[in-house]
């Protein structure tokens, strides 16, 4: 994943200046928008294996799949976040995370982008009053170098 980490000189300089704690986020696209989750919470990034639909499952659960013997519940992240856009991308990937109760949950995203390192200055946390209506899944927003990333609370997303 090293090639995904952008460490330009200006970034290092910024980091040196702010001295705040740095958090690593994995960013990915859902439709036109950019989202991020804390990198440490993602166990693996998977090319989607065949997924078996589960009849009667909640609408945002696409089904189950097996990752080397581990049974994974596959969640359509766009549906869980109640985004209108539901198109499937050919570059879609599954982010594998383990829920607090031990359930392996795979989140389907349209495209994995990169890992960004955010200092506190780069982030506006929802808890600090982001304004507007904020979903229970949103941790805040990150604004590294003009980008706009919606940071998701992975725990809340997979807990359900």
């Amino acid at each position: 994943m090293a090639d995904l980490v952008r460490t330009g000189p200006e970034r290092l300089a910024r980091r040196g200046a702010s001295r705040g704690p740095v958090r690593e986020f994995l960013t990915f696209a859902l439709g036109p928008d950019l989202f991020g989750v804390e990198l440490a919470r993602i166990k693996e990034i998977l090319i989607p294996p065949p997924i078996t639909g589960v009849p009667r499952a909640p609408a945002d659960v696409l089904g189950v799949c097996s990752v080397r013997g581990l049974l994974v519940t596959v969640v359509d992240l766009k549906a869980r976040l109640r985004l209108a856009d539901r198109a499937r991308s050919r570059r879609s990937r599954i982010l594998l995370a383990i829920a607090p109760d031990g359930e392996a949950v795979g989140l389907v995203v349209d495209e994995v982008r990169q890992v960004v390192r955010l200092t506190e200055e780069d982030m506006e946390l929802a808890s600090a009053g982001l304004g507007g209506e904020v979903s229970e899944f949103v941790l805040g927003v990150g604004r590294p170098q003009g980008d706009f990333i919606v940071l998701l609370d992975l725990g809340a997303v997979v807990a359900n």
Binding site: P50, V54, V64, L71
Partner: protein, 697 residues
Amino acid sequence: MADPIDKARDEFLSEAQEIVETLSRNLLDLDTSVRAGSADPALVNEAFRAVHTLKGLAGLFGAGRLGHLSHRLEDLLDDLRLGRMVLAPEVLDVLFSAVDAYARLLAMARQGSDEAIPAVEDLLARLDSLAQHAPGKSSPNSDYDLDPGLLAVLTEYEEHRLRANLEQKLGLYRLRVEFDLATIDKALEDLKERAKRHGEIITYLPAGEATSPDAIELDLLMASRDDLATLIGSLGADNVVIEELPRRRSVASMTPKGPAGVVAQQQGVESAVPVRAGDAGLDQGPSLRSLTQTVRVDIRKLDNLMNVVGELAIVRGTLARLAERLRAEGERRVAADLLRLHRSFDRRLAEMQAGILEVRMVPLGQVFERLARVVRQIGREMEKDIRLVITGAETEIDKLIVEELSDPLMHMIRNAIDHGIEAAARRLEVGKPIAGTIALNAYQKGNHVMIEVEDDGRGIDGDAVVDKAVRLGKISAEDAKELGREEVLALVFLPGLSTRGTVDDVSGRGVGMDIVKTNIGRLGGIIDVQSESGIGTKMTITLPITLAIVSALMVDVAGHTFAIPLSTVSEALSLDAGGTRLLDGREVITLRGTTLPLCRLERVLKLTRPAGQPAVHRSYVVVVSLGNRRLGLVLDHLVGQQDIVIKPLGRSLASVRGFAGATELGDQRVGLVIDAAAIVDEVLTHTDHREAPPVHG
């Protein structure tokens, strides 16, 4: 990921549980021996040791209440084994309730709670009152806190000698001697002879730490009136290390170690391993070396291993396909090699799978022993003399199943004693022996384990059962008239059908058999009942041997593959379109003269048929049966039979009914496992207010 403290606690709890089970078994034997005329001293000793070990464990883990109870019980058992108290039935009652008290304490400890339990307080009070009847206490053995591991290997005679020596207030010494294997016989005799002047060698055990392959080290336990210095002077040599066994200290002072000068006195309180002066720092404190060769394993670890086996099975399949492809491409020699490899892999894998399954297996005896206690207790409560006959206790079954079995079996036995076995007067009247017999039989039958609970009581009164079922509105009076004996008996599994009018302590709360049946069903098992009026009742439980691997029928419906556990399948047949008729708005077929309700899986699961896959003309019916309820599942194709490993669905799918889990199909795909019980329940209960029978047939 488990917290090491949690892990240690888990291990403590499961070890304590095992010891309590041993104690319980021991008490039952003791009960038998008391009834036969005299309490076997070896059994009393065993019980004592069990409690003693528990006390030690409780001390290590700071389980205060457990330790306190153990301490008091230890005193009682000590009085018993030293003949200061007679083992009367009342005393045994107290001991038996101690087993229950332990169970409660352990359950509380498991929840991390340390509240007072009334039953335990009550027991302590009873122990108090027993103790008042016992004469003064000065146990000749109480000066030494001997390693239970050591006591366990003493022969009866050795133990007797040990006690006799202790009664004379002799000191105990341990001699570690290294013998040359070639001359050990003579050397040992010589040493014994020389030791006679000072006292007596009670026993010797291999210490297993010899310095060369031609030598063996023995630990000799010796009682002597002389002090350590005298003994060293007389018996000491290069190959002999002598150590005085410390007298008992209070439990509280167990942990701290004295300064170097007194180490020799303190070492090996409970250890059979003396320490040479040179390496005193290495081996302090109680020996943790276990005398047994067994390990305790968390069953989840076995599940993980089983998953790995499942994956290897997939590798095996790939290997076979690869070999086929090579053969097709003309690489005959490589293909042949690969096939050989595949066969060998296949065999090893099968061995490994069997091996893991074997580890999961435990004898049913574990649960039977607990039941034996229940029988004794209920028998005494109800003043019925009950003879319990157990056969097949060695029959093995999956550990997880055993855990779930004790409650249902307990219900069945309570029922048998309460409703089945007649009062003594009545039994005399009809010419039966006064003691009622309850037989608990287990045996293996193919891939299933059968467990029978049989009593020689009055049998089930069919008329009374039918009356009650009609009164409760479970069946109509007209239907009732047409029931055969088997169907009548099946009524006892309906909710609320307890044949007793009054609610009492033992059974008759009306929560009996339907719960039993549900619990057995959850394990993939079924229960049948046979009963003859005046002669007795026999309940038979059929269970799969393991939950880890299940034989399943693989089926296709609307392009989806499902697995149906074979334990629930009674038969499969083909169905021509239009071969069904409607009855009360439900599709049914007539199968060998009886009516079988159908359920189209495609419809009930709301499956979407992939585009371009038309509905089949000829479909199949898989008949699933749960006890007396039968349902035909209509589907497209039967794919075949396969052994599968069921994995539970995650929490996000907990609300989804109808599936018992998922399984890997190979080629990376996953199939869902049909929970036949849930589907039958859903389909038959929601639209059928009769709830259960009579579904004729």
